[in-house]
């Protein structure tokens, strides 16, 4: 019971003592405790223990935090796999709740939110897109937090037929190379890493989105492509990732926020807490996101 009181009190606490580090640590710990108790409550009335990453200790006795209804989450397409898994975990932890997702390009989602879509949680693929919704200098509970980072990797087909070892190989005209078009975020990131390396790439195709680049690598139609680390992992055995030092020149940040006029405010905050919890970080890290 006390834990749950802390959960509901948390936003205000976080708001008041946002700037100080100890307060942030405390807030994070409370968040973690909330996640643990959530996982512990996953069984609802059933007596059996609930196994869940992050829920190591014995289940504290207590009722669920009385969350109910639908939580509507708008999230960048790159979060489809991880957030779907976390949505199931959330519904299991809070019987009676339903998490409804809309996955799309984050700028399209931002436009929908600005147009009045009733949304509880927004997770964007860049701080710039998030700023479209929250404004440049948000205050109070609207402050988005970066919960995951992603970086580019060279993706090559299994077996690495083009014998690619680094970014410099993507400048060889003989090699088939796919990049994102500079007009889309992954293409802008690619341009940044090539600029940082002082190289001019020799692409054969400039794709509309990162998944199209990944598909061409998976099918072996290109010898190399630049995609996000998470895409390399999503590609499974068909794709191998090659890290390169210049990737630090274009690290993407994914911020999340419980929107101020969320129709289901308590559940919105609980979902954000879940994403930032040990369980959430484990899911994101397994998918290749940098959560450190």
């Amino acid at each position: 019971m006390r834990l749950h009181a802390a959960c509901t009190a948390r936003p205000r606490l976080a708001q008041r003592a946002r700037a100080t580090r100890p307060a942030r640590v405390a807030s994070a710990m409370i968040g973690l405790a909330c996640a643990l108790s959530m996982a512990a409550c996953a069984g609802g009335g059933s007596p059996g223990p609930v196994s869940s990453p992050g829920a190591g200790g014995p289940a504290p006795a207590g009722a669920s935090p009385h969350l109910s209804g639908t939580v509507t989450v708008f999230a960048a397409a790159s979060l489809t796999g991880t957030f779907t898994a976390l949505g199931h975990a959330f519904e299991a932890a809070h019987p009676g709740t339903t998490v409804r997702f809309s996955f799309a390009g984050s700028s399209a989602l931002a436009q929908q939110i600005l147009a009045g879509a009733p949304v509880d949680v927004f997770a964007a693929a860049s701080p710039e897109t998030m700023a479209l919704v929250t404004g440049a200098a948000p205050t109070g509970r609207e402050v988005p937090v970066v919960f995951a980072r992603n970086r580019l990797e060279i993706a090559v087909p299994a077996g690495n037929p083009g014998r690619v070892t680094g970014l410099v190989d993507l400048t060889r005209p003989a090699l088939r190379v796919a990049l994102c078009a500079p007009q889309v975020p992954c293409g802008a990131a690619a341009a940044a890493v090539f600029a940082a390396a002082g190289l001019t790439p020799a692409p054969d195709t400039l794709e509309q989105d990162v998944k199209a680049v990944l598909t061409k690598v998976e099918l072996g139609e290109v010898d190399a492509g630049l995609v996000y680390r998470t895409d390399v992992i999503a590609g499974g055995d068909a794709v191998r990732g090659i890290d390169f030092p210049q990737s630090s020149a274009a690290v993407t940040e994914d911020p999340i926020v419980a929107l101020p006029d969320a129709p289901n405010a308590a559940a919105a905050q609980a979902f954000v807490d879940l994403v930032r919890s040990a369980q959430g970080r484990a899911v994101l890290a397994a998918a290749g996101f940098d959560v450190g």
Binding site: R176, Q183, D204, L206, E207, G220, E221
Partner: protein, 254 residues
């Protein structure tokens, strides 16, 4: 009858009217002068023309076989011909990659024996466009062949004309309007082709980035430019189709 017909016309025309209403006309000359726009417009016209030619060369004989031969299983063949129409274009593109890609069923031999690799080339654009456009030509020409009076062919044959001569001098002129209509439809489909092209041929300026691909990419950063590009594509297609049909269909007895 008239009311649903008007509703039908409005349904087809109003979205285009909306594009025209929202077009920033002042930006049109500027957009038209951009070299990327001209480049992709030229690529679109060239590849759609080549694709239509390919459709004619392969589609007319196929339509003739479907309409005139006594082959068993023609119904099945006819259904197979329409498959590219039914599939989502992106799936058409994936299918082409799996067949003709560098590791494709046939493509791996093209690459190993001849050093030919189709994806990411203008040839791939033409193939993708012809693949999705040919069913229109086959269906249109087959319909015309079925409607044409076969007794003219029989008369030519009794006068000693060979099959090829009969086809060339009697059958083809009789079904010319159907061939023209089919070619115009195929050209229009090829010009607007997007999904199969971007999947099979990729998108590179001057090589594979046709107008529809440019429009889609422009939507990402500059929706106004996308609208202007759409209008350019629209005007060019209407002009080409009107000219084609006007020239080929004039003098046809009604």
């Amino acid at each position: 009858m008239l009311v649903p017909a008007l509703v039908g016309l409005a349904f087809l025309v109003l979205p285009v009217v909306a594009v025209l209403l929202r077009t920033p006309w002042a930006a049109l000359p500027h957009q038209l002068a951009r070299s990327e726009v001209l480049e992709s417009l030229r690529l679109s016209l060239v590849s759609a023309t080549l694709a239509t030619t390919l459709c004619l060369l392969l589609g007319v004989p196929l339509a003739w076989v479907l309409a005139r031969s006594e082959l068993r299983g023609r119904g099945l063949v006819r259904a197979l011909v329409t498959v590219p129409l039914v599939l989502p274009p992106v799936v058409d593109g994936v299918a082409l990659l799996l067949l003709l890609g560098r590791r494709g069923v046939l493509g791996q031999y093209l690459d190993a024996w001849f050093g030919i690799s189709l994806p990411f080339s203008t040839a791939a654009v033409v193939i993708a466009e012809a693949f999705v456009a040919m069913p229109f030509l086959v269906i249109s020409v087959e319909g015309a062949l079925r409607a044409a009076d076969r007794r003219y062919d029989d008369a030519a044959a009794t006068l000693g004309a060979s099959r090829w001569l009969t086809f060339r001098r009697v059958t083809l002129p009789l079904v010319a309007p159907g061939v023209a209509a089919g070619a115009a439809l195929s050209f229009a489909r090829a010009l607007g082709e997007f999904g199969a092209t971007i999947t099979f041929a990729g998108s590179f300026p001057g090589v594979t980035r046709t107008m529809p691909l440019s429009v889609y990419l422009a939507l990402e950063t500059d929706p106004d430019a996308a609208v202007v590009l759409s209008v350019v594509l629209l005007v060019v297609s209407v002009l080409v189709l009107a000219t084609l049909r006007g020239r080929w269909l004039s003098g046809v007895p009604r």
